[in-house]
């Protein structure tokens, strides 16, 4: 009787495990299929001149230089604005704010809600506030600030989770030694939670890198024939350039759109690789 029960449980276990594995295999297969398509079409057009040329009306001559530079500018500034602000907010909410006060609760609910607001709405906000009211024009700065707002809620929520995971024994140990609150935060809490914060930030920044809609809304251009040289220059980014090429009637433009996707993927992986290296460095130190 008991053996039968155990066998049934093992069967259930195996079934569930099988289901999970097939789900993973399915999603990876779809990803591979997408990558295969992109690489099959795009790889043959990938060359140094594609990366160093400006867009052109001839697909064979067109390159992605201005969009790549625009993406790097925008995303670097976005990181600069969003991560310190996001981590700071999370620190305040977790370490300083009175958790029971209604004010903190309203803050937290709002942040969670903001994470679900569609990107285009942030674009409208950016157009009204940064482009027009603060008069930053249709610049990289406006774009980066808009994207920073867009990913801020995600960074805050992820950082909060990471900060919550710091064992209270570590913090109390620190206090017991007579260390001040700020020193505890910089010496114990932040280093311990950094891997978690970085993971959340990677996801958020990757999302920002793939956004086109809010940037089109604030007036990022479709054609840029020059290299952006300051945060106040007009700009375009890789997703807008790719979208622009896919909507052309000529099939050759759709091919180089695939090449553009490869460049975007490499840029994305590069950024992620940097973050992962940093994360591993801190993780090893804690172990």
């Amino acid at each position: 009787m008991e053996k039968k029960l155990i066998r049934r449980r093992r069967l259930k276990n195996a079934l569930f495990q099988g289901a999970l594995i097939s789900i993973i295999v399915f999603s990876i297969l779809i990803l591979l299929l997408l990558l295969y398509q992109v690489f099959k079409v795009g790889l043959s057009h990938l060359s140094l001149s594609f990366i160093t040329s400006m867009p052109s009306r001839f697909a064979a001559r067109a390159g992605i230089a201005s969009a790549l530079a625009g993406s790097i500018w925008t995303i670097s500034l976005t990181i600069l604005f969003a991560i310190p602000l996001g981590v700071g907010t999370a620190l305040y909410l977790e370490e300083y704010a009175n958790k029971k006060s209604w004010f903190t609760k309203i803050l937290e609910i709002n942040i969670a809600n903001l994470a679900g607001v569609p990107a285009i709405v942030y674009g409208m906000l950016g157009l009204a506030v940064f482009v027009r009211f603060l008069n930053f024009q249709r610049s990289i700065l406006s774009g980066a600030l808009t994207l920073a707002l867009l990913i801020l809620p995600v960074i805050i929520v992820a950082s909060q989770e990471a900060l919550k995971s710091v064992p209270s024994t570590l913090k109390e140990g620190s206090y017991a030694l007579g260390v001040s609150k700020w020193q505890t935060i910089t010496g114990v809490v932040l280093p311990y939670s950094l891997p978690g914060i970085l993971t959340g930030s990677i996801l958020a920044v990757s999302r920002a890198m793939g956004e086109a809609a809010p940037l089109i809304m604030i007036g990022a251009a479709g054609y840029i024939g020059f290299m952006p040289k300051s945060p106040l220059d007009s700009f375009t980014v890789l997703p807008i350039q790719i979208f622009n090429w896919t909507s052309r009637p000529q099939a050759e433009f759709q091919d180089i759109a695939a090449t553009g996707i490869i460049v975007l993927l490499v840029l994305l992986l590069t950024m992620n690789a940097i973050a992962i290296v940093l994360r591993n460095k801190y993780q090893n130190r804690m172990d």
């Binding site: 530079a69 040289k229 009637p249």
Partner: protein, 306 residues
């Protein structure tokens, strides 16, 4: 394994560094007689390829000039143009009264220059052997907001009794505005059960994959997909370079415009750009799939500039 990792890291570093190096190189560009400054352009995605081509050629001659070209759509472009955020607005339809009024309120005078023609092209699936021609009345019957047409038989009794699938550009496009205005008499008036997309390639895919589909979009998109689609003549005239140019493909030939802020024209670089635009439009328009105006009209546009 380590070698591969190293290689990957090198490639990644290159992607990061190359544009920065280029940025640095760019600063020491040629100087001398060439123009400087920034010409801000936004507007129609239909006109975009023409303006992009002109900007590309103009920048080749004047490397220090910056010409960002946006794609907010004709309506979105006019919203920015009317408050003075842009110097030039690409448009695939004439400016609306309320848009012109808004510009006037902000003290903005402008001039309209016609730069090319486009033919809105009616197409059906490759397997559709019966629809060869439609009259303006039939188009109206098919696309009217209160249309009773659901099968081919409803248009002409000898056609099959199969349900039609309708495809049309999205409501934000100038193509949509122009078509509904010309055929249904009011901009935006159209039957509600159509599949819409701002991306004409999506319409091409949809019609190419559905035997009972009918739809319309810019001529360039048909020209690139002649092997997937069948062309429908309108009032017995097929759209082509000649019939669109001489206006015999009616009523679906439409002009494409750029609107220029008159105050911006006082700036040498904007004036030079608009002049360059009109003088070179004839060749560049063809290269990107649109139809140039008759020569005399370009001369008229140039005179308008002076």
């Amino acid at each position: 394994m380590k070698k591969i990792t190293k290689k990957i890291i090198t490639i990644m570093a290159l992607t990061l560094v190359t544009p920065l190096v280029l940025t640095a190189c760019g600063q020491s560009g040629q100087s001398g007689q060439s123009l400087t400054g920034e010409i801000k352009i936004d507007g129609s995605s239909t006109v975009f390829p023409i303006t992009e081509a002109v900007a590309e050629e103009f920048t080749a001659q004047n490397p220090d000039i910056k010409i960002p070209v946006g794609v907010s759509g004709t309506g979105g472009g006019f919203k920015k143009f009317a408050i003075g955020e842009t110097d030039i607005s690409d448009a695939s339809r004439p400016i609306k009264d309320e848009e012109a009024a808004m510009a006037k309120e902000n003290g903005i005078d402008f001039t309209k220059y016609t730069v090319a023609y486009d033919g809105i092209t009616m197409v059906v699936n490759k397997e559709n052997t019966w629809v060869k021609n439609l009259t303006t009345e039939e188009l109206k019957m098919i696309w009217a907001p209160d249309s009773k047409v659901t099968t081919w038989k409803d248009i002409r009794p000898e056609w099959p009794n199969d349900e039609i699938k309708f495809y049309a550009p999205g409501t934000d496009s100038g193509t949509f505005d122009y078509f509904t205005e010309e055929i249904n008499g009011k901009s935006g008036a159209i039957r509600h059960d159509f599949t819409g997309s701002e991306d004409d390639n999506v319409l091409v895919q949809g019609i190419a994959g559905d035997k009972n589909a009918i739809g319309f979009f810019g001529f360039a998109y048909y020209e690139e997909n002649t092997n997937k689609l069948n062309l429908v003549a309108v009032n017995d005239v097929k759209p082509s370079l000649d019939t669109i140019k001489d206006g015999s493909y009616a009523p679906l030939s439409r002009p494409l415009f750029i609107y220029v802020n008159n105050k911006s024209l006082d700036k040498t670089e904007v004036h030079a750009f608009v002049k360059f635009y009109i003088e070179n439009a004839k060749d560049l328009v063809k290269e990107v799939g649109y139809i140039p105006l008759p020569d005399k009209m370009y001369t008229d546009q140039l005179n308008l500039l002076k």
